[in-house]
C-alpha cells in the first residue's frame, strides 16, 4: 500500500465507468484520477450525471462497465457499506439526517469500530460504555466546530435545512474518512454559512489530510477552494483542469448557457 502511495499519490482512480438504466445512460465512459489531499469540484448543469457518478463511487449503484480503484483496491463491485468502511464516505444532496435520532446520536452512530454495533457486544457492557463515552465526546467536539452544540439532545428533525447540512457533514467526518464525497453541500445555504463551511473544509484538508471531491452547481462558489474542476454534461466529462481554465472554456459555457451565437 505504502509503495503505491509513494509511486503515485492517487487516492481514487476511475477508469472508463459507465452505467445505464434501461435506455438512460447517466454516466458514460468517465475516467479521472484524484490525487491525495487534493480538492476537486465536479460541476455541471442539472442532469449532467454528477449525483449518478457519486452513486457509483459510493457503491449505492453498480457500474455497468469500467473500474473504480480506491487506495489501490478495486471497489466497483463491493457493497456500499464496505466502501464506506474503507474510508470513502459520502454525503447526500439535500442533507439526509435521521430525524428521529437526536443530533448527537446522528453523529455517534457514524463512529467506526463500535463494539456495541455488534450483537455480541451486548455481552460486554464495559467495552460498550467506554466506547460510547468517547463517541459522545467526539460528537460534542464536532458539534462545537459547526455551532450545533445547543441542539445536541434535540431530535435532528427539528433542524433547519442549513443546520442539516452541517450535521450531515459532521456525521461524515465522524466516520473517519480518507476521502469525502460531498454532494452539493452549499445548495440552499446562506452565503455566510457557505463561507463558514468553506473554512471548515479547508481546515479539514490541512489538519486531517482528507481528500475532497465535491459536487457543486455554481463554479463561483468553489473557485477559490478547488485545485481542479471537472465539468460534466450529459453523462460525460467535457472539461477537466484548473478552475481558471474552466472559466474560459467554450464547451463549459455552452453546456451552461446553450451554444453561443457564432456571429456575436
Amino acid at each position: 500500500m505504502e509503495t503505491t502511495k509513494t509511486l503515485n499519490s492517487s487516492v481514487l482512480d476511475v477508469r472508463n465507468i459507465s452505467v445505464s438504466f434501461g435506455g438512460v445512460k447517466p454516466v458514460q465512459d468517465v475516467s479521472f484520477t484524484i490525487k491525495e489531499n487534493s480538492f476537486t469540484s465536479v460541476i455541471g448543469p442539472n442532469g449532467a450525471g454528477k449525483t449518478s457518478l457519486f452513486n457509483l463511487l459510493s457503491g449505492m449503484n453498480k457500474v455497468s462497465s469500467g473500474e473504480i480503484i480506491f487506495m489501490g483496491e478495486a471497489i466497483h463491485s463491493i457493497h456500499a457499506h464496505k466502501i464506506a468502511q474503507k474510508g470513502l464516505v459520502r454525503t447526500f444532496q439535500g442533507a439526509k439526517v435521521i430525524r428521529r435520532l437526536t443530533v448527537a446520536e446522528n453523529l455517534m452512530m457514524a463512529v467506526k469500530g463500535n463494539p456495541g454495533d455488534n450483537l455480541l457486544g451486548f455481552f460486554n457492557p464495559r467495552a460498550r460504555k467506554s466506547f460510547e463515552v468517547k463517541a459522545r465526546e467526539e460528537a460534542m467536539r464536532r458539534l462545537d466546530q459547526v455551532g450545533l452544540t445547543k441542539f445536541a439532545d434535540e431530535y435532528a428533525g427539528i433542524l433547519s435545512g442549513g443546520q442539516r447540512k452541517l450535521l450531515d457533514l459532521s456525521r461524515a467526518l465522524m466516520a473517519d474518512p480518507k476521502m469525502l464525497l460531498l454532494d452539493e453541500p452549499f445548495a440552499g445555504v446562506n452565503p455566510t454559512l457557505v463561507e463558514k463551511l468553506l473554512t471548515v473544509l479547508a481546515a479539514l484538508r490541512k489538519e486531517q489530510s482528507i481528500t475532497f471531491l465535491l459536487i457543486e452547481h455554481d463554479l463561483e462558489t468553489v473557485m477559490n477552494i478547488s485545485d481542479r474542476v471537472i465539468v460534466m454534461a450529459d453523462g460525460k466529462i467535457i472539461a477537466d483542469g484548473l478552475p481558471k481554465s474552466i472559466y474560459e472554456n467554450d464547451l463549459v459555457i455552452d453546456a451552461y448557457l446553450g451554444s453561443r451565437r457564432k456571429d456575436s
Binding site: A80, K96, M109, L119, F122
Partner: protein, 326 residues
Amino acid sequence: MEAFIQPGFWIFVLALAGIYGIFSLGLQIQYGVGGIMNFGHVGMMAVSGYTIAVLVIKYEWSFWWAALAGVILAAFLGALLGLTTLRLSGDYFAIASIAFAEIVRYWILNTDNVTGGTQGTLAIPSPNGFASYTDKPDVILTWISDRLYPIIGDEASRDLSMVLIVWPFFGLFIWLSSRLQKTSWARVLRATREDDDVPRSLGKNVFRFRLQTLIIGSVFGGLAGVFWSVQFALLAPEDFLRIVTFYGWMILILAGATRVKGLFVAAIFFGFLYGATRFLEFWPLSLLSSPERAYLRVFLIGLVIVLLMVKRPQGLFGKRQEMILE
C-alpha cells in the same frame, strides 16, 4: 358483569396478557426499533408450538428439548423469511410476511400425519396412543398450585400457576429487550427505520441489522409459542389465524411502539378486552348470544387500533415527537 369480580377471570386475563405480551415484544423490536412491518408474526408462534407438540407426542422427546427446538426453529424460519424477502421494502415485506404465516398454517392444516391437520394436536399419531405434550410442565404447574392451595384454597388454579411462571419471564424479556435497545446496535437500527442510505454510507450493513432484528423478534414469537402451547394444552390450525398477529399489533400500538416498557400495561388491557367481551351482558350487547359477543373483541380491537392511530399515534407511553417528525 359479575364475572369481572371473580379472581379466576383476572387470573386468566393476566395469563393471556403475559403470553401475548411476550408475543408482541417480538413485534416491538422489529417495528418499534427496526421499522420492519411483520404481519406474519403468528407463524413463529405456530411453528414453535407445533414443533413442541409433534416432537413430544410423535417422537417422544422431552418437553424441554422440544421447547428449545421450537424456539430455534422459529429463529431459523425468521432467518429464512428475512433472507428471502427482507430486501423488499416496507409494505412489500409486510405482504410477504402475511404469506409466510399462511404457508405455515396451511402446511400444518395439510400434513395430517404429522400435525394432526384440522383436528389439531389431539390427532397427532403417537406411539403410545397418548396425544398430550404438557406432562412435564404440568408437573411444575401442579407443584405450584399444591403449594398455594393451603394458602388461597380453590383459587390455586392451573391458570394462576401459569401467571406465576409467565410473568417473571415476561419481565425478564422486557428487561433484556430494553437493555438491548439502549445499545449502539439499536441506534443504528433506529436509523435504518427511517433511511437505508445514511447508515450504508457510514459503513453499516443495513441488511445484517434488519436480519438480526427479524431473528430476535422471531425468538420472542417462538417463546410466546412455548407458553401458549402450555397454557392451552392443545393446538389447532385455527388458533394461528392472521388475526392473532394483529392482537400483537394492538398491544404494540397501544403501548407505543418505541417504548418497550409500556407493553406491561397494554398487554393487560388486551387480555381484558380479549377475555371480557363474552361477559359483557348489558343491553344492547345482551341481544347477542355469547359466542357472537366473543366476536365483539375483533371489532373492539380494530376500533382501538384505528382510534389510537388517529388520536395518539405514539400510544400510551411513546413520545409524540418521535412518531411525527418529518
